[in-house]
Point group: C2
Chain length 195, copies 2
């Protein structure tokens, strides 16, 4: 998605060879037009898949997730990173280790909102090692639901999450695929943006 | 907002005299059409205030927040409940105690995204004791920015947050105001919904 790549080049901050900070439009401040365009783009890609639920993880997946959900006419579910007092139902859970935050979270989804009749599209902000996506897939499998595919805003293609998922036969669509962050420069897998 | 009140009556679960669970459309599963209507409703109410930023707290404020942000043509900022590795900037912070979750969080906003030129609309899912709103107001004041007002999805009008804020002269607009949750029944301040 060209507008996204342009935004990454203009506003993204390379913190290390593996960490890209996009707090000005995705992870802290949020550009609502870009979210809407992302939602429409994901919806176009997965339009024919018969998606019944969009699934993401709090917090940064929610903005692109709800726009995708609106465009696909399917509810959004955001997995919780820890149990909440008002989430008293039985839960599907999975452990997710974040290499960026160096911590393990238990993510959970209420059993009420996923069933074997569901065909689920996962949406997330980043794909790196694939831990979050694998946790969400485990939850979808526990529910007996089907996986329609995965929509990712920014894929760090130099890490192996995308390959792992595609090797399992999962359809992964990333709006921006980063080849490298070396020397503080963002290189995309397809160089669609001239800087 | 009538569609919201209807949804609360149909799907809300009264867990106690002070806790209403709306996980089927707001706090875990999210109804994107309702979020869009909420965003448009908040935008209509605050259209003439010259809002430059919409401010909420992760996670449940993000979906109504991004829709409001889209309708008001202003970026959304979601305050973080704890520091992230990639949020290394200087931060505005405030302590917020949650009576529902019985825990205190430090919420933070990067200094980059709020300035004295900003006129900020706060959006949040619930207003009860007003702790979250007061924390966000403290952050806006620290930034030297102006407060345009507060848009709340569900106000527990039997708790004193709304009164405290209105007594301070803050404009608070709530889409649903609950008078009581006694005997497992939701009573609204204005009984617009016949059940």
């Amino acid at each position: 998605m060209k507008n996204l790549q342009t935004k990454i080049v203009k506003e993204g901050i390379v913190l290390s060879e593996s960490v890209l900070k996009v707090d000005s439009f995705l992870n802290h401040q949020v550009d609502p037009y870009l979210m809407k365009e992302m939602g429409e783009t994901f919806a176009n890609k997965f339009q024919s898949e018969g998606v019944t639920k969009v699934l993401t993880i709090e917090s940064s997946g929610i903005a692109p997730g709800v726009m995708t959900s609106l465009s696909l006419h399917a509810p959004l579910i955001f997995a919780r990173k820890r149990k909440s007092v008002t989430l008293t139902d039985e839960l599907y859970t999975a452990n997710v280790y974040s290499f960026t935050k160096k911590e393990e979270n238990v993510i959970s989804v209420s059993k009420k909102y996923l069933s074997p009749n569901d065909n689920v599209l996962i949406i997330d902000d980043f794909l790196a090692n694939g831990q979050a996506a694998l946790g969400l897939i485990k939850i979808i499998e526990e529910a007996g639901a089907s996986l329609a595919g995965i929509g990712i805003v920014i894929e760090k293609a130099f890490q192996d999450g995308g390959k792992q998922l595609r090797d399992k036969g999962v359809r992964v669509e990333s709006l921006a695929r980063i080849k490298s962050l070396k020397n503080n420069i963002v290189h995309f897998v397809e160089e669609e943006v001239s800087v």
